[in-house]
């Protein structure tokens, strides 16, 4: 781990531990504690906050710098579409498993993402991995490129269709969380 360092006025370099207590983290840990404790009393919530602050001090993490703007309607669209995708893809992969097409061909597809945000890349990669049928084999951060292993690909048309799906997914993620929207919304293929 490489903690963030700061330089004090006297010129000493030290880790920024004073920023270790981050409120989202404390809230999350306290909630976790509360759920695991099993009895939803005020006392267990207070205990959870105390433990969470303690954990943040003992195991400090660098703060995440990300610009995220949550748009509730777009989040609902994203989640609904994701659940639908998971069900559809699960059935599809289940069918492939039971009756495998012969020969079963796959592909490793390079998909350059259009968004410049690291956060969007992470969310897109997570969602794509959760949908059966695609696995992120490699992710390149500097150029925001994903390399995905896709099951049951027959020809280039399938690959193009898959890329379109990834870009549509990215578009939905950007609409839900992106700080700024993509420049030209439906321009998927530079012709």
């Amino acid at each position: 781990m490489s903690p963030y360092t700061r330089t004090t006025r006297r010129g000493n370099v030290r880790p920024t531990r004073y920023r270790a207590v981050q409120w989202p983290m404390v809230l999350w840990l306290a909630l976790l504690w509360w759920v695991l404790w099993g009895s939803y009393s005020l006392l267990s919530l207070v205990g959870g906050v105390v433990v969470a602050v303690l954990v943040c001090f003992v195991l400090p993490l660098p703060p995440l710098r990300m610009s995220v703007r949550v748009r509730p309607v777009a989040v609902v669209v994203l989640v609904a579409r994701f659940l639908g995708d998971v069900v559809m893809a699960s059935l599809q992969v289940a069918w492939i498993t039971v009756v495998p097409p012969r020969p079963l061909r796959n592909a490793i597809v390079r998909v350059p993402l259009r968004s410049e945000s690291d956060f969007v890349q992470v969310v897109v990669a997570e969602l794509l991995s959760l949908v059966p049928g695609s696995v992120v084999v490699e992710a390149h951060r500097a150029s925001h490129t994903l390399y995905l292993h896709v099951i049951d690909v027959r020809d280039d048309r399938d690959i193009d269709r898959f890329r379109e799906r990834v870009w549509a997914q990215e578009q939905r993620v950007v609409r839900a969380f992106g700080a700024e929207l993509l420049p030209e919304p439906p321009a998927v293929t530079p012709s």
Partner: protein, 122 residues
């Protein structure tokens, strides 16, 4: 047939559905030729199967605490499963265990050496 009964049956059906998904996944894990292909089969019970089982169990027990805990389990699984899958797939590709005959297109050949970049926090 009363409401609790109906919920019980529905929950049991969801549990059965989740189990069947895991069976299909096990078939895939057993019969698919290489690791990355098997991984597609493995993702299924880890995501949809677990969601179905959690929903089924919630319907069976009908307790807010159980629902919260199961939601936490599903969430933890959904956050961790892609990371584990990515690390395994990546290690497998780099170890040269991918069966190239099964690939139509491999955009990653020759890229792996270049794709490395500095790691760690920025």
């Amino acid at each position: 047939m009363t409401w609790p009964d109906a919920l019980d049956v529905l929950g049991a059906l969801l549990l059965l559905l989740g189990s069947l998904l895991s069976l299909v996944a096990a078939i895939g894990v057993l019969r698919f030729p290489d690791l990355l292909t098997r991984m597609h089969a493995a993702t299924k019970p880890q995501v949809l199967g677990l969601m179905l089982v959690a929903a089924g169990l919630t319907l069976e027990l009908r307790d807010a605490r159980v629902a919260a805990l199961l939601g936490l389990v599903v969430m933890a699984q959904m956050v961790t499963a892609p990371v584990a899958g990515h690390m395994l797939g990546r290690a497998s590709y780099r170890a040269g265990q991918v069966d190239r005959d099964l690939l139509v297109v491999d955009d990653l050949t020759g890229v792996v050496e270049r794709v490395d970049e500095e790691r760690g926090a920025p």
